[in-house]
């Protein structure tokens, strides 16, 4: 982890609310793994607005580039959306724990909601390289928000999309989809990001079916370096309740450990 000053190569709006950022990562010598994130600076020493960095999952990792997919919503992400190709931006990372893929894993399930697709796309990229079959359920408000699925489709065996627009994204429907998938294919591991409700759903199903599963949490982070204790969440590890830092001990956690109150 370091504070890298990298050059923006491209920063484009890819749908109504989503943006796609590509930076030059040729100076990054560290290994970067799916599930990890970077804390991107969105302020300057004049305005201090917004003051804190914003964490973003790695979306795609290539030889000399890093990609992020983000939803331009509040002050920080709107600021991010103003960055132009050629501009230097400050990226602190790679931070956090990455996804782990069990040995001899053949088939995995991804369950993404909204921009949670970003981090699961990175995982899909890696799993694909390992010749793993990938089944993905992508949930979003509307089809427009699913535009970014093209990337993930390349890596996946099968992608299912559900939306509010189509009235297909309710938990009950998703539950049935997952059950069907599990019945048809022997899923070795499942991964989720982007929704508390879907995470709770997956937690129950994977527990009942003895499937290894992981979740990438999105807690509010002030430092992203494990020093401030603002990003904590409660987990139960080997029977013991613990308050852990999601920036350092996470953001990826075994799904069964996470306590969703």
């Amino acid at each position: 982890m370091r504070d890298y000053h990298v050059t923006v190569l491209s920063n484009k709006q890819v749908s109504n609310r989503y943006w796609h950022l590509i930076v030059d990562s040729s100076d990054l010598k560290e290994a970067i793994e799916p599930g990890q994130f970077f804390n991107i600076k969105s302020t300057d020493y004049q305005t201090y607005y917004p003051l804190l960095r914003r964490p973003f999952s790695i979306y795609r990792i290539k030889e000399d580039t890093l990609e992020f997919l983000y939803k331009a919503e509040g002050a920080g992400t709107k600021q991010l959306a103003t960055y132009k190709p050629g501009q230097k931006i400050s990226l602190l990372g790679p931070a956090g724990v990455s996804y782990s893929i069990p040995k001899n894993c053949k088939k995995i399930l991804l369950l993404a909601r909204g921009v949670g697709i970003a981090t699961l796309a990175a995982l899909a990229q890696k799993a694909d390289q390992m010749n793993i079959e990938i089944y993905a359920i992508l949930s979003a408000r509307n089809k427009d928000d699913l535009l970014a699925t093209k990337t993930i489709e390349k890596y996946c065996t099968k992608v299912y999309c559900v939306t509010e627009e189509d009235k297909t994204s309710d938990v009950e429907h998703v539950r049935r989809m997952i059950h069907d998938l599990i019945k048809t294919h022997h899923i070795d591991a499942a991964y989720t990001c982007g929704s508390r409700r879907l995470s709770m759903l997956l937690q129950k199903i994977t527990k009942a079916n003895g499937i290894t599963s992981q979740v990438a949490l999105e807690e509010y982070m002030a430092c992203g370096m494990g020093v401030c204790y603002s990003c904590v969440c409660d987990i139960k590890r080997q029977g013991v309740m613990q308050t852990v830092k999601s920036c350092e001990d996470g953001p990826v956690f075994p799904l069964e450990e996470v306590i969703f109150e």
Binding site: Y48, V227, S230
Partner: protein, 313 residues
């Protein structure tokens, strides 16, 4: 070639090679991946409590205009872990380690101070008598000069190591608290902890901080802290460590001109983890530009006219 400027300062007997150190709670082991700790003036891990504590309810931090509010509530693994893991970790560095202590009672402050001060590699203690805490509606030990005196005096009796007392800015008369700490035997005053603050999300109607209130830090508070440093420097002989809102070398220099001998940097680390290193370099540059040979020339160097004569109210 650039001439090295003398940046050493003496904080109540503790010599530090430069006046820049982290603020407790806004610094930690995780940062060793990003900066070289040996370049700092001193090291201060997060305040430690006697027993393990889980800290406050989330959300624990939120942004405000020019600042942030936090109410971590001192999540801590307790003193045993601190002795076994934290101190040994920091022993790898060649610069002084200052232990920040937070406690529930004067007795507990004394007990913890005595244990921690007895560790050879601990250079000094910082008594966090200023943590705004909802349990007492924001009350802190450091809000009373009597309690401050008693607390510091009792700790003074159990150690000869430098005692830094971190004052709270949430007081009517910071001078009297500073003098109480000085009389009680403090070696240095940290001015100051965070102003107690609150923010409400107007759409959910909920406080933005789980703990309702928290401490305000960042650039917004600097003018309040500069004033308090100036006021404390007017009455106290002790070296002051300025803390609150320092983002750049200019901010650090401003606090030193107001009367600080050294500074602590908190929130700026989150914005830019190299902030402390940049600040040290920036002070060097300023000293070159202004032809200062020793950093002492800065301390309390603000030029004020005699107000009583000049003021024409």
């Amino acid at each position: 070639m650039k001439k090295e400027r003398k940046m050493e300062v003496d904080i109540g007997g503790m010599k530090i090679t430069n006046p820049v150190m982290p603020a407790s709670g806004a610094f930690g082991e995780g940062m060793d991946r990003v900066i070289d700790f040996n370049l700092l003036g001193a090291l201060i891990p997060k305040s430690i409590t006697k027993y393990p504590q889980r800290g406050n309810r989330t959300p624990r931090a939120c942004e405000t205009k020019g600042g942030m509010i936090n109410s971590i509530g001192i999540q801590s693994k307790g003193i045993d872990y601190y002795l076994k893991e934290t101190i040994p970790y920091y022993e790898q560095y060649s610069i002084p380690l200052i232990s920040s202590i937070s406690a529930e009672s004067i007795d507990e402050f004394v007990e913890m101070s005595s244990i921690i001060a007895s560790v050879t590699s601990v250079a000094a203690l910082e008594l966090n008598i200023s943590c705004p805490n909802l349990k007492n509606n924001g009350q802190a030990f450091g809000m009373s000069d009597d309690i401050t005196y008693q607390l510091v005096n009792r700790v003074r009796k159990v150690t000869d190591k430098p005692i830094l007392v971190k004052l709270t800015p949430n007081v009517t008369d910071i001078q009297s608290i500073a003098l109480a700490a000085e009389r009680a035997g403090a070696d240095s005053l940290v001015v100051a902890n965070t102003p107690l603050a609150m923010a409400i999300d107007i759409h959910t109607r909920r406080p933005k901080i789980g703990n309702i209130m928290g401490g305000l830090s960042g650039p917004a508070i600097k003018p309040i802290i500069v004033r308090q440093i100036y006021q404390v420097h007017e009455v106290s002989q002790l070296p002051i460590i300025g803390c609150g809102g320092i983002m750049t070398a200019d901010d650090a220099i401003e606090m030193m001109l107001a009367g600080a001998s050294a500074v602590q940097v908190g929130t700026a680390n989150f914005v830019s983890p190299t902030a402390m290193i940049d600040i040290i370099a920036g002070i060097q540059t300023y000293m070159e530009e202004h032809q200062l040979h020793r950093i002492d020339e800065l301390i309390g160097g603000v030029i004020v006219m005699n107000q009583r004569e000049e003021d024409y109210i």
